[in-house]
Symmetry: C2
Subunit: 141 residues, 2 copies
Protein backbone atom coordinates (compact mmCIF):
# COMPACT_ATOMS: atom_id res chain seq x y z
CA UNK A 1 0.00 0.00 0.00
CA UNK A 2 1.48 3.30 -1.07
CA UNK A 3 2.48 5.90 1.45
CA UNK A 4 0.04 8.50 0.19
CA UNK A 5 -2.90 6.14 0.59
CA UNK A 6 -1.76 5.19 4.06
CA UNK A 7 -1.62 8.82 5.06
CA UNK A 8 -5.01 9.61 3.61
CA UNK A 9 -6.55 6.76 5.57
CA UNK A 10 -4.91 7.89 8.79
CA UNK A 11 -6.02 11.45 8.25
CA UNK A 12 -9.56 10.15 8.09
CA UNK A 13 -9.18 7.98 11.18
CA UNK A 14 -9.58 4.83 9.17
CA UNK A 15 -7.90 1.83 10.73
CA UNK A 16 -5.28 -0.02 8.73
CA UNK A 17 -6.49 -3.59 8.78
CA UNK A 18 -5.10 -6.57 6.92
CA UNK A 19 -8.24 -6.69 4.82
CA UNK A 20 -7.80 -3.09 3.79
CA UNK A 21 -4.17 -3.51 2.92
CA UNK A 22 -4.90 -6.47 0.69
CA UNK A 23 -7.90 -4.87 -0.99
CA UNK A 24 -5.97 -1.71 -1.77
CA UNK A 25 -2.96 -3.63 -3.02
CA UNK A 26 -5.14 -5.62 -5.36
CA UNK A 27 -6.68 -2.46 -6.71
CA UNK A 28 -3.24 -0.99 -7.16
CA UNK A 29 -1.94 -3.99 -9.04
CA UNK A 30 -4.77 -4.08 -11.54
CA UNK A 31 -5.32 -1.99 -14.60
CA UNK A 32 -8.88 -3.17 -15.18
CA UNK A 33 -11.98 -2.33 -13.17
CA UNK A 34 -12.86 -5.06 -10.67
CA UNK A 35 -16.26 -5.97 -9.31
CA UNK A 36 -16.71 -6.60 -5.58
CA UNK A 37 -16.84 -10.32 -6.35
CA UNK A 38 -13.64 -10.11 -8.39
CA UNK A 39 -11.87 -8.48 -5.50
CA UNK A 40 -13.28 -10.98 -3.05
CA UNK A 41 -11.86 -13.87 -5.06
CA UNK A 42 -8.44 -12.27 -5.11
CA UNK A 43 -8.39 -11.41 -1.42
CA UNK A 44 -9.39 -14.87 -0.26
CA UNK A 45 -6.15 -16.68 -1.06
CA UNK A 46 -4.38 -14.24 1.24
CA UNK A 47 -7.10 -13.93 3.86
CA UNK A 48 -9.24 -17.06 3.69
CA UNK A 49 -11.71 -15.84 6.31
CA UNK A 50 -12.55 -12.59 4.57
CA UNK A 51 -16.22 -11.89 3.95
CA UNK A 52 -17.82 -10.32 0.90
CA UNK A 53 -19.48 -7.80 3.20
CA UNK A 54 -16.07 -6.48 4.13
CA UNK A 55 -15.26 -5.94 0.48
CA UNK A 56 -18.45 -3.97 -0.02
CA UNK A 57 -17.93 -1.86 3.05
CA UNK A 58 -14.37 -1.03 2.13
CA UNK A 59 -15.21 -0.17 -1.44
CA UNK A 60 -17.83 2.21 -0.15
CA UNK A 61 -15.30 3.76 2.19
CA UNK A 62 -12.66 4.11 -0.52
CA UNK A 63 -15.16 5.65 -2.88
CA UNK A 64 -16.17 8.08 -0.18
CA UNK A 65 -12.57 9.16 0.21
CA UNK A 66 -12.32 9.64 -3.54
CA UNK A 67 -9.69 6.96 -4.00
CA UNK A 68 -11.68 4.74 -6.32
CA UNK A 69 -14.28 5.33 -8.97
CA UNK A 70 -17.36 3.29 -9.62
CA UNK A 71 -17.98 2.42 -13.24
CA UNK A 72 -21.09 0.69 -14.50
CA UNK A 73 -21.04 -1.47 -17.57
CA UNK A 74 -23.94 -2.36 -19.74
CA UNK A 75 -25.84 -5.34 -18.37
CA UNK A 76 -23.23 -5.92 -15.76
CA UNK A 77 -22.81 -4.85 -12.21
CA UNK A 78 -20.68 -2.06 -10.90
CA UNK A 79 -16.93 -2.29 -10.87
CA UNK A 80 -14.28 -0.17 -9.29
CA UNK A 81 -10.93 1.16 -10.30
CA UNK A 82 -8.29 3.11 -8.48
CA UNK A 83 -8.24 6.73 -9.52
CA UNK A 84 -4.56 7.19 -8.71
CA UNK A 85 -3.49 4.39 -11.00
CA UNK A 86 -3.99 6.24 -14.22
CA UNK A 87 -5.15 9.59 -15.49
CA UNK A 88 -8.80 10.04 -16.37
CA UNK A 89 -9.79 7.72 -19.17
CA UNK A 90 -12.70 5.83 -20.67
CA UNK A 91 -13.53 2.27 -21.56
CA UNK A 92 -14.41 0.21 -24.58
CA UNK A 93 -16.38 -2.88 -23.63
CA UNK A 94 -16.83 -5.88 -25.90
CA UNK A 95 -20.50 -6.80 -26.22
CA UNK A 96 -19.59 -10.41 -26.78
CA UNK A 97 -16.81 -11.41 -24.39
CA UNK A 98 -16.88 -8.48 -21.97
CA UNK A 99 -13.28 -7.55 -22.63
CA UNK A 100 -12.43 -4.06 -21.45
CA UNK A 101 -9.98 -1.80 -23.17
CA UNK A 102 -8.83 1.47 -21.70
CA UNK A 103 -9.06 4.54 -23.87
CA UNK A 104 -6.68 7.27 -22.95
CA UNK A 105 -5.88 10.43 -24.84
CA UNK A 106 -9.47 11.27 -25.58
CA UNK A 107 -9.95 14.99 -25.93
CA UNK A 108 -11.90 16.45 -23.05
CA UNK A 109 -13.06 19.42 -25.04
CA UNK A 110 -16.61 18.17 -25.15
CA UNK A 111 -16.76 18.26 -21.39
CA UNK A 112 -16.31 22.00 -21.56
CA UNK A 113 -18.96 22.18 -24.24
CA UNK A 114 -21.40 20.48 -21.93
CA UNK A 115 -20.58 22.64 -18.97
CA UNK A 116 -21.44 25.62 -21.11
CA UNK A 117 -24.70 24.40 -22.53
CA UNK A 118 -26.27 23.15 -19.31
CA UNK A 119 -27.35 24.89 -16.17
CA UNK A 120 -25.81 22.05 -14.17
CA UNK A 121 -22.50 22.41 -12.41
CA UNK A 122 -20.77 19.36 -13.88
CA UNK A 123 -18.33 17.54 -11.64
CA UNK A 124 -17.85 14.18 -13.26
CA UNK A 125 -18.78 12.07 -16.24
CA UNK A 126 -18.88 8.51 -17.43
CA UNK A 127 -18.17 7.57 -20.99
CA UNK A 128 -18.28 3.98 -22.15
CA UNK A 129 -18.11 2.60 -25.65
CA UNK A 130 -19.65 -0.70 -26.69
CA UNK A 131 -18.73 -2.81 -29.65
CA UNK A 132 -16.77 -5.89 -30.59
CA UNK A 133 -13.13 -6.60 -29.91
CA UNK A 134 -10.82 -8.05 -32.53
CA UNK A 135 -11.37 -11.65 -31.52
CA UNK A 136 -15.13 -11.48 -31.27
CA UNK A 137 -15.37 -9.70 -34.57
CA UNK A 138 -13.61 -12.67 -36.13
CA UNK A 139 -15.92 -15.15 -34.49
CA UNK A 140 -18.90 -13.36 -35.95
CA UNK A 141 -17.70 -13.83 -39.50
Amino acid sequence: MKREVLELLKENKVKITNEREVIIEILQQTTKPLSPADIFLRVRPQLPKVNLTTIYRNLEMLEGLGLIKRVGFNKEYFSYELLANRPHHHHAICKNCGKIEDLENISEKFVDQVSRQTSFKIEDHNLEFFGYCKNCRRENL
Copy 2:
Protein backbone atom coordinates in the same frame (compact mmCIF):
# COMPACT_ATOMS: atom_id res chain seq x y z
CA MET B 1 -49.01 3.79 -30.54
CA LYS B 2 -47.51 5.11 -33.74
CA ARG B 3 -48.03 3.32 -37.01
CA GLU B 4 -44.32 2.64 -37.53
CA VAL B 5 -44.03 0.92 -34.17
CA LEU B 6 -47.13 -1.13 -34.85
CA GLU B 7 -45.69 -2.29 -38.14
CA LEU B 8 -42.35 -3.15 -36.67
CA LEU B 9 -44.03 -5.28 -34.03
CA LYS B 10 -46.12 -7.08 -36.61
CA GLU B 11 -43.10 -7.70 -38.81
CA ASN B 12 -41.53 -9.45 -35.87
CA LYS B 13 -44.62 -11.51 -35.06
CA VAL B 14 -45.10 -9.71 -31.78
CA LYS B 15 -48.70 -9.69 -30.60
CA ILE B 16 -50.36 -6.35 -29.98
CA THR B 17 -51.65 -6.65 -26.43
CA ASN B 18 -53.24 -3.97 -24.26
CA GLU B 19 -50.21 -4.06 -22.00
CA ARG B 20 -47.89 -3.39 -24.90
CA GLU B 21 -49.96 -0.57 -26.25
CA VAL B 22 -50.00 1.19 -22.92
CA ILE B 23 -46.31 0.64 -22.20
CA ILE B 24 -45.32 1.97 -25.59
CA GLU B 25 -47.64 4.95 -25.30
CA ILE B 26 -46.15 5.84 -21.96
CA LEU B 27 -42.66 5.66 -23.38
CA GLN B 28 -43.75 7.82 -26.28
CA GLN B 29 -45.27 10.45 -24.05
CA THR B 30 -42.20 10.87 -21.87
CA THR B 31 -39.04 12.76 -22.55
CA LYS B 32 -37.15 11.34 -19.57
CA PRO B 33 -35.81 7.82 -19.09
CA LEU B 34 -38.14 5.67 -17.02
CA SER B 35 -37.27 2.72 -14.83
CA PRO B 36 -39.33 -0.48 -15.01
CA ALA B 37 -40.96 0.52 -11.73
CA ASP B 38 -41.76 4.00 -13.08
CA ILE B 39 -43.48 2.45 -16.06
CA PHE B 40 -45.31 -0.04 -13.90
CA LEU B 41 -46.79 2.78 -11.81
CA ARG B 42 -48.00 4.57 -14.90
CA VAL B 43 -49.50 1.51 -16.53
CA ARG B 44 -51.45 0.40 -13.48
CA PRO B 45 -54.09 3.15 -13.52
CA GLN B 46 -55.05 2.00 -17.00
CA LEU B 47 -54.55 -1.73 -16.49
CA PRO B 48 -54.88 -2.43 -12.76
CA LYS B 49 -54.05 -6.12 -13.10
CA VAL B 50 -50.75 -5.58 -14.87
CA ASN B 51 -47.72 -7.28 -13.36
CA LEU B 52 -44.18 -5.92 -13.04
CA THR B 53 -42.93 -9.03 -14.78
CA THR B 54 -44.82 -8.01 -17.88
CA ILE B 55 -43.09 -4.65 -17.84
CA TYR B 56 -39.68 -6.31 -17.64
CA ARG B 57 -40.46 -8.76 -20.38
CA ASN B 58 -41.72 -6.08 -22.71
CA LEU B 59 -38.80 -3.78 -22.08
CA GLU B 60 -36.49 -6.62 -22.96
CA MET B 61 -38.44 -7.24 -26.14
CA LEU B 62 -38.45 -3.56 -27.13
CA GLU B 63 -34.75 -3.29 -26.48
CA GLY B 64 -34.16 -6.37 -28.59
CA LEU B 65 -36.02 -4.73 -31.46
CA GLY B 66 -33.91 -1.62 -31.04
CA LEU B 67 -36.84 0.59 -30.12
CA ILE B 68 -35.63 1.59 -26.69
CA LYS B 69 -32.24 2.18 -25.15
CA ARG B 70 -31.14 1.18 -21.70
CA VAL B 71 -29.31 3.86 -19.77
CA GLY B 72 -27.65 3.30 -16.41
CA PHE B 73 -27.27 6.10 -13.94
CA ASN B 74 -24.72 6.28 -11.24
CA LYS B 75 -25.98 4.56 -8.10
CA GLU B 76 -29.34 4.04 -9.66
CA TYR B 77 -30.95 1.25 -11.55
CA PHE B 78 -31.40 1.00 -15.27
CA SER B 79 -33.91 3.14 -17.06
CA TYR B 80 -35.21 3.09 -20.58
CA GLU B 81 -36.01 5.68 -23.19
CA LEU B 82 -37.53 5.47 -26.62
CA LEU B 83 -34.95 5.90 -29.32
CA ALA B 84 -37.41 7.27 -31.85
CA ASN B 85 -38.46 10.09 -29.57
CA ARG B 86 -35.36 12.15 -30.05
CA PRO B 87 -32.04 12.02 -31.82
CA HIS B 88 -29.05 10.60 -30.02
CA HIS B 89 -28.27 12.62 -26.95
CA HIS B 90 -26.73 12.41 -23.50
CA HIS B 91 -27.76 13.14 -19.94
CA ALA B 92 -26.76 15.37 -17.09
CA ILE B 93 -27.79 13.88 -13.75
CA CYS B 94 -28.03 15.88 -10.54
CA LYS B 95 -26.08 14.18 -7.77
CA ASN B 96 -28.42 15.65 -5.20
CA CYS B 97 -32.00 15.41 -6.43
CA GLY B 98 -31.56 13.01 -9.35
CA LYS B 99 -32.95 15.46 -11.88
CA ILE B 100 -32.11 14.51 -15.44
CA GLU B 101 -31.43 17.01 -18.18
CA ASP B 102 -31.07 16.04 -21.78
CA LEU B 103 -28.02 17.26 -23.62
CA GLU B 104 -28.45 17.51 -27.34
CA ASN B 105 -26.13 19.05 -29.88
CA ILE B 106 -23.02 17.50 -28.46
CA SER B 107 -20.42 16.98 -31.14
CA GLU B 108 -19.95 13.34 -31.98
CA LYS B 109 -16.46 13.90 -33.30
CA PHE B 110 -14.89 12.15 -30.36
CA VAL B 111 -16.75 8.99 -31.25
CA ASP B 112 -14.80 8.89 -34.48
CA GLN B 113 -11.60 9.53 -32.58
CA VAL B 114 -12.29 6.47 -30.48
CA SER B 115 -13.13 4.24 -33.39
CA ARG B 116 -9.77 5.10 -34.81
CA GLN B 117 -7.66 4.58 -31.72
CA THR B 118 -9.12 1.24 -30.64
CA SER B 119 -9.14 -2.17 -32.25
CA PHE B 120 -12.79 -2.53 -31.24
CA LYS B 121 -15.60 -2.12 -33.70
CA ILE B 122 -17.61 0.47 -31.80
CA GLU B 123 -21.38 0.29 -32.15
CA ASP B 124 -22.72 2.32 -29.28
CA HIS B 125 -21.74 4.49 -26.36
CA ASN B 126 -23.05 5.88 -23.13
CA LEU B 127 -22.13 9.32 -21.91
CA GLU B 128 -23.48 10.68 -18.67
CA PHE B 129 -22.52 13.80 -16.79
CA PHE B 130 -22.88 14.22 -13.05
CA GLY B 131 -23.08 17.45 -11.12
CA TYR B 132 -25.57 19.73 -9.44
CA CYS B 133 -28.63 21.34 -10.99
CA LYS B 134 -29.51 24.98 -10.44
CA ASN B 135 -31.74 24.33 -7.46
CA CYS B 136 -29.42 21.98 -5.66
CA ARG B 137 -26.50 24.27 -6.20
CA ARG B 138 -28.45 26.97 -4.38
CA GLU B 139 -29.28 24.66 -1.52
CA ASN B 140 -25.63 23.91 -1.03
CA LEU B 141 -24.73 27.54 -0.43
